[in-house]
């Protein structure tokens, strides 16, 4: 009689052990969004889809660009596979609704971080660290003789509707007391089509985007960026406010990209660094960063070795930049503010 009784008594104990194990693995996290993504097995990422350097579709059908690489790094960290991402191309105007309604898990779409988008009473989004420090610029045809904003007085200027560009331009022109006509378009394609057909004397939006779009013009040399920088445009990935656990995970995925560059860990040497860390218990910081010891991944609800996985997916921040926007790309944008803090830039990861 006794053995079956003991067995029956042990069942709840075993079951509770199992539960305990689960809870440990999740770190006691409650993130509905991460649970949904894991159940679905794919990350749904909102991107622009038509902007060279940030997110665009190559002739072979794959998505490329810095915004795309942020999605890939996140998928690698959470799901273990950078290819498990579905990209949703979003307009300037439908991007926030798509994020708020849960249609996309992560908005990685050259979106400017502002108070009203962050605040609970505004768009109620949660911003990760900024991945590209930009500023709003103005592009004009080279032969137009327009040298600065004053030359644009009374002229039509094309801007994407509903963007911060529209507001910045209005503020700046009002400060300078210059009348002008804003021509607003819902899509970037329409904005640039109107500019290229000379309906507007200038087009104004983020400088990186102007440079990126110019690279796809029939004659890029016929257009020039004015030296004016009229705003700060920190382009930042965003998630919904309602899920702080998921927002933290994305935040530290981006920091890991910065930190990996700072530590000199690249796509090429990450295996060697991992082997070095495993072999040498004295390298405590490196061991924790790469998930050899400690529980950084578990604390965030990500894979234990999420850093190794995301570096394998696309390299550190510096590698992503060079490949998508820098000298390895057709844009050849200088890193400018987007250097690490120790090189005089603005990228700074808190300690892991």
């Amino acid at each position: 009689m006794a053995p079956p009784f003991r067995l029956a008594a042990a069942i709840p104990l075993i079951a509770s052990l199992g539960l305990l194990g689960c809870a440990n693995e999740g770190g006691g996290l409650q993130s509905p969004k991460m649970a949904t993504i894991q159940a679905r097995g794919r990350l749904v990422c909102g991107v622009d889809g038509k902007l060279p350097g940030f997110s665009f579709v190559t002739p072979d059908g794959s998505s490329k660009g810095m915004d795309v690489d942020i999605c890939r790094a996140t998928a690698a960290a959470l799901l273990g596979d950078p290819d498990k991402v579905d990209y949703r191309p979003l307009d300037v105007t439908d991007r926030f609704a798509a994020l708020a309604s849960g249609e996309v898990d992560l908005l990685s779409r050259n979106t400017t971080y502002t108070l009203s988008r962050d605040a609970a009473g505004g768009n109620a989004m949660s911003f990760a660290p900024t991945v590209f420090y930009d500023g709003q610029g103005v592009m004009v045809p080279s032969g137009s003789g327009i040298q600065d904003l004053k030359d644009l007085a009374g002229k039509p200027i094309c801007v994407p509707s509903g963007s911060t560009s529209e507001l910045n331009l209005a503020n700046r022109m009002r400060e300078l007391g210059l009348p002008y006509t804003p021509l607003k378009f819902q899509t970037l394609d329409q904005t640039y089509a109107a500019y290229l057909s000379a309906r507007c004397s200038a087009v104004s939006t983020d400088r990186s985007q102007l440079a990126a779009k110019r690279s796809s013009f029939p004659d890029p040399a016929a257009h020039a960026l004015l030296p004016v920088v009229m705003s700060k445009e920190p382009l930042t990935p965003a998630t919904v406010n309602a899920d702080p656990v998921w927002a933290d995970a994305v935040r530290w995925v981006v920091y890991a990209l910065f930190q990996a560059e700072e530590l000199g860990i690249t796509q090429a040497n990450v295996e060697a660094k991992l082997a070095e860390a495993k072999a040498n218990p004295a390298l405590a910081d490196l061991r924790r960063f790469l998930g050899v010891e400690g529980s950084f991944g578990q604390q965030l609800g990500l894979k234990p070795d999420f850093v190794v996985r995301l570096i394998k997916a696309g390299g550190n921040y510096g590698e992503i930049y060079e490949r998508t926007l820098g000298n390895g790309s057709s844009l050849k944008l200088d890193r400018g503010h987007n250097r690490l803090w120790k090189d005089g830039g603005l990228l700074y990861s808190p300690p892991f």
């Binding site: 300037v92 009473g121 109620a124 509707s161 529209e166 507001l167 209005a170 309906r199």
Partner: protein
């Protein structure tokens, strides 16, 4: 005997006068509970999401500019004024569109009965070509292919009393200064407005042409013959005999087309014209008040369409046969 006695007292649950009231009352209570539940649910969820309706933002400065405002507007004015400016811009294109589409539609619809075969074929071709292509594509065509292809400056197309340039259509007198046209007297229309108006007029005109054609076809052939035998000219026959009778059939159909034109004007954003929808979109992006802005949009278009309906129903009563 029977009538004298008050009869047995009827229990209330079999009272023919009371039962309908009870049933109606119970139904009303159920309905109220359901509506209260739905509204309560909406408010609870909006509160939880931090989206409870608030209208204070309407009084804050808008901060954006509006191209070609009919109502004076600048970035320092509040959001409500911006939305009102957008509404006025919408009404401008809707009213002009209604007039233009009615004229074009009446001409094309009447042309279907012309004795000239070429005219009949043209009217038919116009209707079939236009009504089978989506309006959005047509607007993009009018804007990017037709109006943005206009030359600028000295190469602009100059007709007596009219200059067609990319910087605008100038009706009246305009002079070239520094390679830019300056209006001296008359009216300047932007190419955005011109593209939207053309698109709406041409598109709605095709549908109105069909309504008009149907109305004229509904007039018995005997009316034509009678008019001819009285010695009326073709124009008189059409104007005095056929069209007045055809209107009874045409007006209800026109109502639909007018409402549809008003709603289609919200596609203005495709060709860069700043209408109510465009202003609302910018407002939504800057305030984050999605529910409120969409409610304002819904309400505005509903009111515009109900007004059009009311006017058209009045017209309908006027043209119907007065029976004595």
């Amino acid at each position: 005997m029977r009538s004298a006695s008050p009869g047995p007292v009827i229990p209330w649950w079999r009272d023919r006068r009371l039962i309908p009231w009870l049933v109606q009352g119970a139904l009303a209570v159920v309905l109220l509970v359901v509506v209260a539940f739905l509204v309560g649910n909406l408010v609870r969820n909006l509160t939880a999401a931090g989206l409870l309706l608030s209208w204070q933002w309407l009084g804050q400065p808008a901060g954006f500019d509006v191209a070609e405002p009919l109502l004076p507007f600048d970035a320092g004015m509040p959001y409500w004024r911006g939305l009102l400016t957008g509404l006025v811009n919408t009404l401008r294109v809707v009213l002009l569109g209604l007039v233009g589409a009615t004229l074009l539609g009446t001409l094309a619809g009447s042309a279907a009965f012309s004795s000239n075969a070429l005219l009949r074929a043209l009217a038919r071709g116009y209707v079939e070509l236009i009504r089978n292509i989506p309006l959005l594509l047509q607007l993009l065509f009018w804007y990017f292919v037709v109006f943005l292809a206009l030359p600028n400056g000295a190469q602009a197309i100059q007709l007596p009393g009219l200059v067609l340039a990319k910087s605008g259509l100038y009706l009246g007198r305009a002079a070239l200064a520094d390679g830019v046209w300056q209006l001296q007297s008359g009216l300047r229309i932007t190419v955005e407005f011109a593209a939207l108006l053309t698109g709406l007029v041409v598109f709605s005109g095709a549908f109105i042409a069909e309504v008009v054609r149907g109305g004229i076809a509904a007039v018995p052939a005997g009316q034509w013959e009678a008019a001819r035998s009285l010695g009326l000219a073709p124009a008189q026959t059409m104007g005095r005999i056929v069209l007045p009778q055809a209107l009874r059939v045409i007006v209800p159909g026109l109502n639909n087309q007018y409402i549809s034109l008003a709603k289609s004007s919200s596609l203005a954003v495709a060709c860069g014209y700043t209408d109510l929808y465009s202003v609302a979109e910018t407002t939504l992006n800057q305030t984050g008040r999605a529910v409120e802005v969409v409610l304002i949009l819904l309400g505005s278009y509903l009111v515009i369409d109900l007004l059009i309906s009311a006017v058209m129903n009045g017209v309908n009563r006027l043209v119907q046969l007065q029976e004595r």
